[in-house]
């Protein structure tokens, strides 16, 4: 599933307040375990349901490295291969668990131009049935056009 954004994204077309195309990630056990292992996170709460439930969690849940990865992907799916991310800051809320899609949304909160480069700050939100899973901001740069 990919966002329907035309590339290259033109920095001069962007405005504060613009929304990014939303993205729904169907979260499954496979998505969670694949992300945990690809990020080399072997904590049992990310692959062992019994263990996770003994810790008080409803099920296995996504590790933060994978959440960061999906936030990063959400931004570059929109901004394209010429964009460069400088900062990803997130606050974790409820867990991302199997069977609850994560809905990613974003909005441009600032744009600064310095010579031929734009620095863009985007607010990002990933929500599921529990509410906010991750909220935060991403700072990226895009070349001027």
């Amino acid at each position: 599933m990919s966002n329907e954004t035309r590339h290259p994204l033109r920095a001069s077309d962007l405005a504060v307040g613009d929304s990014l195309p939303p993205f729904d990630l169907p979260v499954t056990s496979t998505v969670i375990v694949a992300g945990a292992i690809a990020t080399r996170d072997f904590m049992p709460v990310h692959h062992d349901r019994d263990y996770a439930q003994a810790q008080g969690a409803p099920d296995i849940f996504m590790n933060i490295l994978t959440t960061n990865g999906y936030v990063s992907r959400y931004i570059s799916d929109w901004a394209g291969p010429e964009s460069m991310q400088r900062k990803i800051s997130i606050k974790l809320g409820g867990p991302a668990v199997p069977g609850q899609a994560l809905k990613f949304t974003g909005q441009i909160i600032s744009i600064n131009r310095e010579s031929d480069e734009y620095t863009i700050e985007v607010s990002v939100q990933a929500r599921n049935d529990f509410g906010d899973h991750a909220t935060g901001t991403v700072v990226l740069t895009l070349a001027g056009d």
């Binding site: 690809a38 990020t39 990865g69 291969p81 991310q85 990803i88 974790l92």
Partner: protein, 187 residues
């Protein structure tokens, strides 16, 4: 202010603050930045940004060559896990040197929940770069009552460098270390 009478554990943890968390020297990533791990990550997250695997496409961008996904920064220096006993260690990948996390695990605060992460990238990493990480424990909160149980918020900052001692990125990470509540006891 820590009151040793009411929270001796917190008082004991005080000595870890401002010190390296774990190793007192930078830890070397088990592997250099490499294509197999990038491919594994790209497939796991279904991230099709061509700069991560397509050298021809990457050559046409500002990067000029394949670069690693920026969010993989932390992945490169994740410690090699000892699978046996990982559950009993609260998910700690190995029996690390004595540190605040180990002290909390031992005291029964074996649950871990990440609450905040701030990743900063100086630039994207190239294949073949050898990373090193150094972790400093920034702060430990007072004991808090949370939805998961009693716990402490532990904040550390990791600085990532390459073989040339160039800082390529940083990460602030905050984790809640909590005493898991037994659901059966709560009814």
């Amino acid at each position: 202010m820590t009151d040793e009478q009411t929270d001796p554990l917190r008082a004991k943890l005080e000595r870890y603050i401002g010190k390296p968390l774990g190793s007192t020297t930078p830890t070397e990533a088990p592997d250099k930045v490499n294509l197999p791990m990038i491919r594994h990550w790209v497939d796991a997250l279904d991230d099709r940004n061509p700069i991560y695997l397509d050298s021809e496409a990457a050559a046409t961008t500002r990067y000029g060559e394949i670069v690693a996904p920026p969010a993989m920064l932390q992945t490169w220096t994740m410690p090699r896990p000892v699978i046996e006993g990982i559950a009993e260690r609260g998910g700690a990948p190995n029996t690390s040197t004595e540190n605040a996390i180990g002290a909390l695990d031992k005291a029964g605060y074996s649950g871990s929940l990440a609450t905040n992460s701030e990743l900063e990238f100086e630039r994207y990493l190239k294949v073949g770069e050898q990373l090193h990480s150094m972790i400093m424990l920034e702060s430990i909160s007072e004991q808090k009552s949370t939805a998961f149980g009693l716990g402490y918020f532990v904040t550390w900052v990791t600085t990532y460098t390459n073989d040339q001692d160039e800082v390529v990125g940083r990460q602030m990470f905050r984790v809640l270390k909590f005493k898991p509540a037994n659901p059966k006891d709560n009814s």
